[in-house]
Amino acid sequence: MSLQLRDVSLSDQSGDLLYNISSTFEKGMNVLVGPTLAGKTTLMRVMAGLVAPSSGEIFLNGEDITKTTVRDRSVSFVYQQFINYPAMSVFDNIASPLKVSPEKPSKEAIRERVEELAELLGLTPLLKRRPSQLSGGQQQRVAIARALARKSDVVLLDEPLANLDYKLREQLRDELQSLFSGADNVVIYSTAEPAEALDFGARTFVLSEGRVIQEGPALGLYEHPSSVEVARVLSDPPINIVRSSQSASGGTFGGVSFSYDTSASKGQSEIHLGLQPHRIHLDRQDKTDVEFTGVVELAEVTGSETYLHLTLPTGEYAVVELDGAYPVDPDTTVTAYFNPADLHGFDVNSGAALFAPSRRGK
């Protein structure tokens, strides 16, 4: 099972919405990650057949479905804002797509399928209730169960957990992961949150301003982003990006010069260096570490971690993620360390990656 997009573009009166998307979504879990307005919902609407692309083709298992309407596509859609029929019981909500399906399953077959899904999603004791008698998380599980009822070839989940509690999201993410890990159909899950994409660890498509700018396993994209935009989309806290003057033997970071192998900078006099916040430490970890200073604007302590927001001597901003509690007062100057092996390099103009960290977290 696979859903293939070939050169799919979409524009309307307001302008271009999707540009030349050529990606293949295989069976199992696929994650579409990108900020708000990147085009995630638009792309899913095109996949569902709710909107026809302006150009390009869509194939399901090799068959051209570009002109197939939403009714005739085997597609289910779960929206961020969970939608259930308020006047129907949970059972009838889940059963509704089966009752109108062209296969016309028997009553008995419908009951079996509904019970199977209820079991899978922990809804068995709730089948007789109305949606309004359920919590938000339970309502979204009903919407998901309904989307799965017909065993569609393509299941589209558009930020389905965005409106839920943090803890509930954690729990449902785990449930969805086990639900879809061995799926035969193509499941596409969209999110704006980097942690969610890394959590699923599935094949991931980074969407930015209507383009798929990189695809691959989530961790691979995090470690080897092809551009500064990919690095940004996959980092939370945001990756630090600072200007760096380059010489034959080294570069600068926040006003400090240090030596490192600059051969990957391709002779450019200035590049952007990228450094993940958790790669900065307040003590020296290695003799090759580079020391720099920053003025603390703010220290945010979560209990397990501390985020130090720093202003560097160059006026640039950097955030440091530390394990544990470091309640540093604002306006304190701190000395911090990073290792050149943890740096990303990006072209100042195009944003293209020049190099990635040579040292990987094992």
Binding site: D199, P238, L298, T302, G303, S304, E321, D323, P330, K362
Partner: protein, 361 residues
């Protein structure tokens, strides 16, 4: 600036049958930043709306500097509220939006200009004063909403109802940073409602963790993380939350799944308890620890999450990205003493005592 007190406040939406907010006494110190944190339906928004005057509590009263304001309507309270979605007039410029609350109160024009200029300066909005809010990014629109709340001079507190809901991930960081710095500059009391633990913990001096209409624990982020007084603090704070195991204390020795895991801090504890340890405090040791089989390891970029098994109990350990660990291994871990708690009826009653067993790797 003022001290706000809630005295025996409770609220029921169904005439007293069930309470969305159970009896609560709380003093909000002048100039502190508070967060109300909890899952949906825990009563946090009800509490916020009682303070702003959108809801009249079924029981109890609210005092501002000792004056009872329980029956005062919203507009007569000097408490400002910022909602999930920016509430702005899009036919007006940012300047006109900021002037609006003052014009309504018939403040002299000169004073209005002075206040608007001051607030714009404080919020870095000076360059945006003559544009319409619709032209601004969503995070800046929220800053303008905040400005409208702050523009009055007599504001005792600003209440935020999940103000980052519609803000893009990447701007959340900068917006939070601005709110926090603003708090340091103005010293106005802030109360912030959210279900996002990171937001609550980073924002507030004190977090009120709520569940089922009750405040379960009040404390700093560090307190809630390191010293959970209730199982719910263990569960709700931290990602993933605390691991819990059924445990029995016999003659001071704590046993979980037939394995002695340590001694209890309090020698009077005895019988069945629940043992709680955060994934951050399941620590790999080279010897003297407990044998776990490693059933799953996930690299999440900034950290590794390992699923471990002790007898038939599965627990999670959060490890630095460079700790060597592989699925299928049997490795020794210890539960860090004093950070591993014993709970009885959901309340923390003790911890594992620090005895030197286990050598840190």
């Amino acid at each position: 600036m003022a001290k706000i007190e809630l005295v025996d406040i409770a609220h029921s939406y169904d005439g007293g049958e069930t309470f969305a907010l159970k009896k609560l006494n709380m003093t909000w110190e002048d100039g502190k930043a508070y967060a109300l944190l909890g899952p949906s339906g825990c009563g946090k928004t009800t509490l916020l709306n009682i303070m702003s005057g959108l809801i009249r509590p079924s029981e109890g009263k609210i005092l501002v500097d000792g004056v009872d304001i329980t029956d005062k309507p919203t507009e007569e309270r000097n408490i400002a509220q910022v909602f999930q979605f920016p509430v702005l007039y899009d036919t007006m410029t940012v300047r006109k939006n900021l002037e609006f609350p003052l014009k309504n109160r018939k403040v002299p024009a000169e004073k209005i200009n002075e206040r608007v200029a001051h607030i714009a300066d404080l919020l870095d909005l000076t360059d945006d004063l003559d544009v319409r809010p619709g032209k601004l990014r969503s995070d800046l629109q929220q800053i303008v909403s905040l400005g409208r709340g702050l523009v009055r001079e007599d504001v005792a507190a600003i209440l935020f109802d999940e103000p980052l809901t519609v803000i893009d991930q990447s701007f959340k960081w900068t917006l939070r940073n601005r709110l926090k710095r603003l708090h340091l500059k103005t010293g106005v009391t802030l109360v912030y409602v959210t279900h996002d633990q990171t937001e609550a913990l980073t924002f507030a001096d004190d977090v009120l963790l709520m569940r089922d209409g009750e405040v379960v624990q009040v404390g700093s982020a560090e307190d809630l993380f390191l010293n959970p007084s209730h199982e719910f603090s263990g569960y709700f704070i931290g990602s993933p939350g605390m691991n819990f195991m059924e445990a029995t204390v016999t003659d001071g020795v704590v046993e979980a799944h037939g394995v002695a895991v340590g001694k209890a801090t309090d020698s009077s504890l005895s019988g069945p308890h629940r043992l709680g340890v955060r994934p951050e405090f399941v620590e790999p040791v080279s010897r003297g620890g407990l044998d776990f089989s490693v059933t799953k390891v996930e690299n999440r970029g900034g950290f590794q999450l390992a699923q471990l098994k002790l007898a038939d109990q599965t627990i999670m350990a959060k490890l630095a990205p460079d700790v060597a660990i592989a699925e299928g291994d049997t490795q020794q871990f210890r539960f860090v003493p004093e950070k591993t708690y014993l709970f009885k009826d959901e309340r923390a009653v003790g911890a594992l005592k620090s005895t030197q067993s286990g050598v840190q790797k």
